[in-house]
């Protein structure tokens, strides 16, 4: 890709600069804005957060190096353990179920049905809605007198189902699952589009050959469709993991970590430590731990399901 010099004549320029040199300079100039911004706000920021995590930075004081104290404090903090547990549980359940749901929705829509465009668009609508609005809506839906309880009582009242305050009931432990359900339902349709695009790339002949061999129904799904979709499944799992490990908006707005920290996630804890309690160094150490977790999970997933180059697809 980079080396395609052959066949392109070097046209001398009046400026005296040779064309290759001019091309290289222009290249740096065009990529320049990204380089400058990311050197400051991405790479510089990452180095800075790494440095801060070894200091006693609160908010405006001159940072002083104090070694690994912050890491020791974070790793022995019981609240951090709870947040880590909640975050990993949340990410595992959400990533798994949303990938599965996205795949099933895509396979459903890939069949010859009427109104395909209608269903695809309707299902996608929550994905253009901000998490702020989704949160405001679902706080109302999940109330004890909310529409979810009304529907459930109407359908399952005969089993003795009683309305639950989904987001605030301590004993019922429903807050985290409720947050998971909202994320799954609102994110799966995005990934459904990825799967739909990939399904349309599977040649019809593959299915014809499979049906000659007697592969139909679930067998065909698991032995033909899923393996053919492997690169895209990898992509969806990786993006889903990275996204769900960072869950913040919905948690902050719907439960703010409650009840009794049942929904406190790492990102919520980082936000609180840094921007409410002004413990920047402590929050930096947590941030760096989160980054390491995301990076190592990516490497593990790459090993397990990924082929090379799938992310660059």
């Amino acid at each position: 890709m980079a080396k395609q010099a052959e066949g392109r004549p070097d046209v001398p320029r009046s400026s005296g600069l040779n064309r290759n040199m001019q091309e290289a300079l222009t290249g740096y100039l065009y990529v320049g804005p990204w380089i400058v911004i990311s050197l400051v706000f991405t790479f510089g920021a990452m180095l800075y957060v790494f440095y801060l995590s070894f200091t006693d930075m609160q908010i405006l004081n001159e940072p002083k190096l104090i070694g690994i104290d912050n890491y020791v404090k974070v790793l022995t903090d019981r609240l951090f353990h709870m947040a880590l547990f909640n975050t990993i549980l949340y990410a595992a359940v959400v990533t798994f179920l949303q990938t599965l749901l996205a795949l099933l929705l895509a396979v459903t829509l890939n069949a010859k049905i009427r109104g395909k465009t209608f269903f695809r668009s309707a299902w996608y609508l929550p994905s253009v809605t901000s998490w702020v609005v989704i949160s405001l809506i679902f706080v109302w839906v999940f109330q004890k007198e909310g529409i979810l309880n009304y529907v459930l009582v109407t359908l399952f009242g005969w089993t003795g189902f009683e309305p639950v305050a989904w987001l605030t009931d301590v004993g019922a432990h429903t807050a985290l699952p409720a947050l998971m359900a909202v994320s799954i339902g609102c994110t799966a349709p995005i990934f459904m589009l990825y799967f739909l695009a990939a399904l349309q790339d599977i040649p019809e002949e593959v299915y014809e050959a499979a049906s000659l061999d007697g592969s139909v129904g679930p067998h065909r799904f698991f032995h033909i469709t899923v393996p053919m979709l492997r690169p895209i499944i990898f992509l969806v799992v990786v993006l889903g993991t990275i996204g769900s490990l960072q869950v913040f908006d919905q948690v902050y707005l719907m439960t703010n970590g409650g009840p009794l920290n049942q929904t406190t996630t790492i990102n919520l804890l980082i936000y609180r430590s840094a921007f409410t309690d002004h413990r920047f160094a402590y929050a930096s150490a947590m941030s760096f731990i989160l980054f390491v977790i995301i990076l190592s999970l990516f490497l593990v997933q790459n090993r397990l399901i990924g082929g090379s180059n799938t992310v660059e697809r």
Partner: protein, 304 residues
């Protein structure tokens, strides 16, 4: 999860159809009905809450919390929208809500324009120009997609604070002038444009910029439209950045404003839901009118 079981059923329904399609007996019609019933059920589960929220934004404060809930408002109370528009005001009596809408438009519009220019020239350089270290820079760019945004909030806050930019639009706009994911999306599209076209222009003596401006950009219009829609929507719906970097209510975009409103109006769900519609309906309209570009965005990348 209820949606999972429903779709599982419709999946088997679909494969069952293949065998019965030739003879349209009663079984064919049963399967047909079952399939559409399950599709509708999935639709109700996925967007029912949103439709209910829209309808409830016209109800009275009592009706929005009524048990049993009503589907359609007994009286369509359009005043909810006027009420939220004037809900909160600053010391001089100027309403915040219109400011928030305007701020959201300025920030999203600004980011979109910046992306249209900076991301497209960068994508052009990555796909068409030869310069040392290109592969490395591209790989570095892709790797930044893995860095959690919260991790960068702390240092970004410190950096922007030392530049005296916190609580100004600059704090939001400057770090977002270019986006790695949008550059990536455009490179995926630029690679599909035949090289012969720009090489012909090149040989005719057109400068690098002219080639980009007159040959590549006109051909890339669909990809640019996709990118513009995604950039606009991304900033319009962004919450964390403005939450951290903007402090005074006059500076809030609508998302942060709505969170603020919820704190003040927590018992007036009808008003809060009406406010939410100001955030949601523009995005829904963009999606309805330009949905093919959203679908295209997925084809060219794999990034939201």
């Amino acid at each position: 999860m209820p949606p999972t079981t429903t779709t599982q059923r419709s999946e088997t329904v679909i494969s069952a159809r293949k065998t019965s399609i030739e003879r349209k007996g009663p079984r064919y019609y049963t399967v047909l009905v079952l399939r559409y019933v399950s599709l509708l059920l999935v639709t109700v589960i996925l967007i029912g809450p949103f439709v209910m929220a829209f309808l409830s934004s016209f109800k009275t404060t009592q009706e929005v919390l009524a048990w049993p809930p009503t589907l359609l408002p007994q009286v369509w109370r359009l005043q909810n929208y006027a009420e939220v528009w004037n809900a909160l005001a600053d010391a001089n009596g100027n309403s915040y809500f219109p400011r928030w809408v305007l701020n959201s438009l300025i920030l999203s519009g600004g980011v979109t324009l910046a992306h249209l220019f900076f991301c497209s020239i960068a994508a052009y350089a990555f796909t068409r120009l030869r310069f040392p270290g290109k592969r490395f820079i591209f790989a570095a760019m892709l790797s930044t997609l893995m860095i959690p945004s919260m991790v960068m909030m702390i240092p970004q806050y410190q950096i922007l604070n030392s530049l005296h930019l916190v609580d100004t639009f600059g704090a939001i706009l400057i770090p977002n002038l270019v986006s790695a994911s949008m550059i990536f999306l455009l490179t995926q599209f630029f690679r599909t444009i035949p090289r012969e076209l720009d090489e012909a222009a090149y040989i005719d003596g057109a400068s690098i910029f002219t080639t980009f401006w007159r040959v590549i950009l006109p051909l890339a219009r669909p990809a640019l439209a996709t990118m513009a829609l995604l950039s606009f929507q991304g900033m319009w719906n962004n919450y964390l950045g403005p939450l951290v970097l903007l402090n005074t209510p006059e500076m809030f975009p609508l998302t942060v404003g709505l969170g603020f409103l919820k704190g003040q109006y927590s018992t007036f769900y009808n008003v809060v839901l009406a406010g939410s519609m100001f955030n949601t309906i523009p995005m829904v309209l963009l999606f309805v009118f330009f949905s093919r570009f959203y679908v295209q965005g997925v084809t060219y990348s794999g990034i939201k």
